[in-house]
């Protein structure tokens, strides 16, 4: 295959030319005839009873067409925004999901929750209208704090103790026994700070209804347009599924926040039929801070039982997870099945018991954000392992090595449900240490000390579960959807190929990676492959892109469809060679037969498929187009070793990352450059979490960090030059041997940074983000 464009080649991204020259077509770039504009009227209160809403003054504003309140949606049969994964509590009872009308009707439960929306001829008029809406509220006491939420005022009638569920995983008795037999117990109380996603493109939606055909078209910023469509049709009752087309065009970043089905697109698609004209909404940045689902926000107590020589015997984790005001689309799965199941990490800890209490607060809903549960799990495991090593006076590297699941133990059944297929953790660790020049660390530390600086080194050996997921497994655990992926490979008469994928690219580079896969397998030019995604009218179905699943699940579906294309091609070629298909070989773009010295290029077979002269049409249908649905057999398990070295100026509390090494095992890699880019982005977000980013609410439930003046996004200057490398143990259960790379950096890095900072300061914990102020205060407390 073409070494410059095939599997394993760092092909420059096809899509970048349009993105970097401003020619991308994002939702807000799309305008349709007769379009109106929409502005949502949002609660200024964290918790309040709505006594009345007067829309008359808004209707009087010049240019305002209609003002809608939540009652009108309810009267029209529009349902609540659902949470699609039912998690059961310890006692077997299902989670509590409070009513979540898209537009609030009787109460508002977080600042920014919409309670009305205005449709107008212009955006300006819609804004004026929104300001003119009058609402009378009884302000109620707000619940904000994660740790104390369950003992605070009850928010939802059906949720005593503000609890959504109290979940457990693992063997409690075996874990208790492990602690009884332990020589040493390490305890760690840590928090995982709330993050606000901040994709570069704010969410947007353009809904239009065509009365002539009774069909709806929704353009929106979704990571999973088919999921959006099925939820809006089946649960929210906006329209029959067949009459609703969802198009998710170019999307500028998602990080999870664009998985979910939100109030805004629900409102505009529904109202477009009421108004009889298309309606557009685009969030501004201030709105995004309030209206996008946030991430993380855990408070955790962890205990690790060890033998005196550092053998990990048992792990107990008790977490309170802040869900915000309502259960967002997939929120319930994040601090449970995407979290507790990862508590074995890379280690053979035999007994693990995890409890998660999910609580409601009067804050924006919290849902999956890059890594979704796995960064939180890695943070717990890797912080407590490092802490244990310090307490036992062991080298943290040695403690890890002693407890790694060895390469010959795979497949390895963890005590927390997952079965890892493959891995070689010691290999990643060795490579990382080499790159980190760990031998030279002592000299570097001495040099820092001579300059009045504090130096620390920290490690993080993460594991994650990607390629979500075997459908029957997740459905048995409460998921409301299967998690397979679909693909269609449509070969043209000329031999060029269109690929319709259910995966969705919002920055990942699928148009390039998937084209490499197709071009490699069919032996056709890279440029003759066109990857199409993000349109329920063009691809059969799709579960979309999140959880680093696109190559492992979406790519495998394409691969499966390619198998079918090649199989049919062999049948056609067999007729041309006048032999049987089992005697036809296909390699490097050529169908060949040992009885012939004239191999048939792929394009010739494509032509023959559509100009069916050579094969019997009662045996073989004309054309060359195949579909496949691929359901994964297991999760995939990317893993890696990260090393972070920091230098802290004790006079200011400023932490500078002087070295960051990331060695990841993603199995086989299609495009190393794109993978490296994904790692860089993930590291930036993970380091952002560790040092910079924090969603803070005040005691009244106002978001204090609601703009870039106060919420610190990582900038290039905040980050070191990353040293990135890879090891590879190919996935054993998907056809490509791939694992997924989108979240690893964000999963593995916070613990590495915080282990380095706590090492430098000689303290057990510093809360994230370790801002200069926080670090300085930590130093003052110790002084």
């Amino acid at each position: 295959m073409d070494a410059e464009t095939g599997i394993g080649a760092s092909v420059l991204r096809k899509e970048d030319a349009r993105f970097i020259t401003g020619k991308g077509q994002y939702t807000d770039d799309i305008s349709v005839f007769g379009q109106t504009h929409c502005v949502f009227v949002r609660s200024p209160h964290a918790r309040a009873k709505i006594n009345s809403i007067n829309t008359d003054p808004a209707m009087a504003v010049d240019g305002v067409i209609r003002v809608f309140t939540g009652d009108e949606l309810v009267e029209d049969g529009i349902g609540d925004l659902p949470c699609g994964w039912v998690v059961n509590s310890k006692d077997g009872s299902p989670m509590v999901s409070p009513p979540h009308p898209p537009i609030a009707t009787t109460v508002v439960n977080y600042v920014g929750e919409p309670y009305a929306f205005v449709v107008a001829e212009t955006l300006q008029a819609a804004r004026d209208g929104a300001e003119a809406v009058e609402a009378d509220f009884d302000i109620l006491e707000a619940v904000v704090d994660t740790a104390t939420a369950s003992s605070s005022t009850q928010i939802h009638e059906n949720a005593p103790n503000n609890q959504a569920y109290d979940w457990e995983l693992g063997d409690k008795e075996a874990t208790d026994a492990a602690f009884e037999n332990a020589d040493h117990v390490t305890e760690l109380d840590i928090t995982n700070n709330r993050l606000i996603p901040n994709a570069i493109e704010p969410r947007a939606a353009l809904g239009s209804y065509d009365a002539a055909s009774s069909t709806y078209t929704l353009y929106t910023t979704s990571q999973n347009p088919h999921v959006e469509r099925v939820v809006l049709a089946l649960f929210v009752n906006v329209a029959p599924e067949a009459n609703l087309r969802v198009i998710s065009p170019d999307v500028g970043g998602g990080f999870g926040s664009k998985i979910f089905v939100y109030a805004e697109e629900t409102a505009v698609i529904w109202a477009s039929a009421k108004v009889g004209r298309p309606i557009k909404w685009r969030a501004d940045r201030s709105e995004s801070f309030l209206a996008d689902a946030h991430g993380r926000d855990h408070v955790t107590k962890a205990q690790l039982a060890l033998s005196s020589d550092g053998e990990m015997l048992g792990l107990r984790v008790k977490t309170i997870a802040n869900m915000g005001a309502y259960l967002s689309t997939f929120s319930s799965s994040v601090p449970t099945y995407l979290y507790g199941t990862l508590m074995a990490g890379q280690y053979k800890t035999p007994a693990i018991y995890v409890e998660t209490q999910a609580v409601f607060t009067n804050t924006s809903p919290v849902d999956a954000y890059r890594g979704a549960g796995r960064p939180e799990a890695t943070y717990v495991v890797e912080r407590i392992v490092e802490t244990a090593a310090r307490e036992l006076n062991m080298d943290p590297v040695e403690l890890r090595r002693k407890n790694f699941i060895p390469p010959d133990a795979f497949p390895y059944q963890t005590p927390v449900a997952l079965e890892y297929d493959t891995g070689n953790y010691a290999a990643s660790m060795s490579k990382a240490l080499e790159l980190a020049d760990s031998d030279g660390y002592a000299a570097r530390k001495a040099a820092s000390e001579a300059n009045g600086k504090l130096r620390g080194i920290g490690y993080s050996c993460y594991i994650e579960a990607c390629g979500i997921a075997p459908s029957q497994l997740v459905i048995s655990l409460g998921a409301g959807v299967g998690l397979f992926e679909s693909a269609e490979v449509r070969v043209d008469v000329s031999g060029s190929v269109s690929v319709m994928t259910g995966s969705h690219s919002h920055g990942q580079g699928h148009e390039t990676t998937f084209a490499q896969l197709v071009s490699d397998r069919l032996g056709i030019p890279f440029d003759s492959v066109n990857v199409i995604h993000g349109d329920t009218g063009r691809s059969d179905y799709g579960l979309g892109t999140y959880g680093s699943r696109s190559i492992a699940v979406g790519g495998s579906a394409i691969d499966k469809a390619l198998d079918k294309i090649i199989a049919k091609g062999k049948k056609i070629a067999a007729h041309m060679f006048e032999t049987t298909e089992d005697k036809v070989n296909f390699a490097e773009g050529q169908f060949s037969y040992e009885g012939s010295n004239e191999p048939k290029p792929f394009a010739e077979i494509a032509g023959a498929a559509y100009i069916p002269a050579v094969y019997p049409l009662d045996e073989l249908e004309p054309g060359l187009s195949e579909k496949a649905f691929y359901d994964p057999k297991n999760f995939t398990y990317p893993a890696g070793s990260y090393v972070c070295e920091v230098e802290i100026d004790p006079s200011t509390g400023v932490t500078e990352i002087q070295k960051f090494v990331a060695v990841d095992d993603f199995g086989n890699v299609i495009n190393p450059m794109i993978v490296e880019g994904q790692v860089h982005g993930g590291l930036a977000q993970g380091i952002g979490q560790a040092l910079l980013e924090h969603g803070i609410y005040d005691a009244d439930g106002n978001l204090s960090t609601g703009s870039y003046m106060d919420y610190t996004m990582p900038r290039a200057a905040d980050l070191p030059d990353f040293e990135v490398d890879m090891t590879s143990t190919p996935c054993t259960h998907n056809p490509l041997g791939v694992k997924g790379c989108g979240e690893a950096g964000a999963i593995g890095s916070p613990a590495a940074v915080m282990n380095a900072i706590t090492d430098a300061l000689g303290v057990k914990d510093v809360p994230m983000p370790a801002t200069p102020h926080t670090v300085w205060e930590t130093i003052q407390q110790g002084a």
């Binding site: 300006q124 803070i696 960090t705 610190t712 905040d718 102020h773």
Partner: protein, 261 residues
């Protein structure tokens, strides 16, 4: 944004006349504070009076030991000057590139944000602020939070900075906004040692205890043991008053060390 009348002034008198004749007018220089406020609908003036086309307001010149910076000079233009390196360095660290390409010294000083950088330079270098009506000594200019000695409608025309013997500005920037959490300008001038502090309190101020110590001994160690009273300092999400108090000393020492370098 609410709608407003955009009024482009052709000269200072014109600007002031428009301002006086309007029931609610605001000047726009670089717009780095005003435009975001307008966009967020936090301001709703009837008239926005644009000063950008007034001739001669953006010139930067250097004569007789004084660098004279026109009020409409942009931060990037001040950053490109050479006669007072500490002033150029300060300007080069304001905000980000977009802000430096639009924001002006006059706009910044008139706004008097407690975390703005320029007030430290005005106090530390002993500048004089010239308006269409008068000259105001820098020491008298900053009154309180977002409050200056400017009368309603008065327009800054230029700022005169005496060239110091040597000066340095040390800044601890807010990680998110890049405003100064604390910024300290230390200068050795013909009129003695001056220390201007911004970011720490409601508005910029001179720190006379540091000035006295450095007059006697221009070294970082001269500041050891001098208590900085932070009881009235700003305290917010990003920095407590005590942290700001500590940073005043740390930044002043950094500035002194830069002087020596």
């Amino acid at each position: 944004m609410y709608s407003f009348n955009f009024r482009r002034a052709s000269n200072i008198e014109d600007a002031q006349q428009i301002h006086q004749s309007s029931s609610d007018a605001v000047y726009v220089a670089g717009g780095m504070t005003l435009i975001p406020s307008l966009k967020l609908r936090l301001a709703n003036p009837d008239d926005v009076v644009d000063l950008s086309q007034i001739e001669g307001l953006s010139a930067i010149s250097s004569n007789d030991g004084v660098v004279s910076v026109g009020a409409m000079a942009r931060h990037c233009e001040v950053a490109a000057t050479s006669d007072i390196p500490a002033l150029a360095s300060l300007a080069s660290r304001i905000g980000d590139a977009q802000v430096r390409n639009r924001g002006t010294i006059g706009g910044s000083l008139a706004n008097n944000d407690p975390s703005a950088d320029y007030p430290a330079a005005v106090l530390g270098l002993g500048a004089t602020i010239h308006t269409n009506a008068r000259a105001i000594a820098g020491d008298d200019f900053f009154v309180d939070l977002f409050e200056t000695a400017l009368e309603d409608g008065e327009i800054i025309t230029r700022v005169d900075f005496p060239i110091p013997k040597r000066a340095a500005y040390a800044k601890f920037a807010n990680q998110a906004s890049k405003y100064a959490v604390v910024g300290v300008m230390v200068a050795e001038t013909d009129a003695g040692v001056r220390v201007g502090v911004t970011g720490a309190a409601a508005c910029a101020f001179r720190l006379t205890s540091f000035e006295e110590a450095l007059s006697a001994n221009m070294s970082a160690s001269a500041l050891d043991g001098i208590d900085v009273d932070s009881s009235d300092f700003n305290s917010d999400l990003h920095a407590s008053a005590a942290y700001r108090g500590s940073l005043v000393t740390v930044m002043a020492k950094q500035a002194v060390e830069q002087l020596a370098a």
